[in-house]
Symmetry: C2
Subunit: 133 residues, 2 copies
DNA sequence: TAGAAATACGACTAAATTGGTCGTATTAAA
DNA sequence: TTTAATACGACCAATTTAGTCGTATTTCTA
């Protein structure tokens, strides 16, 4: 269906909430507000932290805050962190050795789709948190 | 990973091949040329036929040919026929009653992503077979 | 200094989606 | 009438994604 995964949606929801609140937020708080399973939310926030989009404070009174300017957090960033590389087709992204057409050298759509894919990535890179108003 | 399904890839490969050959092609022929499982290829061609992108000739010496001008066959067409509606997020596409955030009225990303999604669809609608050279 | 509230994270299970197969029907040319 | 083709629904297998569990670590506060 060519859609963003549920997890990335959760990530975007959380980032927007954290941005708007503009102070330390806990995983539980976001989980409660948006009916997202706590453990799942926590793991996603941890991924975003590891990737440098959020910074975290451990311990009691801890939580997460944005580690970057919201105009520097693109949808593409979020999706790539949570779902892995964006690729309309994977032959051009990951050099998949599992694509029969690629391996046999018979694929007739690789190059053109590669170009289209790059345009798409550019597009997603240009849309940032601040565009999500 | 936000990628087109294998089946849609098969569909695009087939359409491009049929376009370039410019005469009746059988499912077996495409299957053989591109190492695509025959039954699978056949079903995809049938879907594209039902949707009006291809026309078919039954019986011996039968096969498929384009039913439209290649400049009128967009990538979006193909994906929607094979994978179903294109939607970065599904709240804005299918009125999914399974989205908890949507149902509880707490989703903070629905509208902005809806707009972004529309742009994306426009983009995929503008890319046609003739762009896949 | 103990307990509670929080992040961190790997391993696992469950659910959903997707890819592929099978069987059977239908059509039309040779 | 046989054969080569499309048509199609039902089914199974594989992969991917979502969600859970257990445990460790950090740090505030009483």
């Amino acid at each position: 269906m060519l859609k963003v995964s549920r997890k990335s949606e959760y990530g975007l929801i959380a980032l927007k909430y954290i941005w708007e609140k503009n102070s330390l937020c806990t995983a539980r708080e976001i989980s409660d507000n948006f009916f997202i399973p706590l453990e799942n939310m926590a793991k996603i926030l941890q991924s975003l932290t590891r990737a440098g989009l959020l910074s975290s404070v451990k311990g009691v009174q801890g939580g997460y805050r944005l580690a970057r300017n919201p105009s520097e957090i693109s949808i593409a960033n979020v999706i790539e962190i949570i779902d892995g590389p964006i690729g309309i087709v994977d032959c051009e992204t990951t050099q998949k050795t599992t694509c029969v057409q690629y391996c046999r050298g018979v694929c007739n759509i690789k190059k053109p789709l590669g170009k289209i894919q790059n345009k798409f990535k550019e597009f997603l890179n240009e849309v940032t948190l601040v565009d999500m108003v």
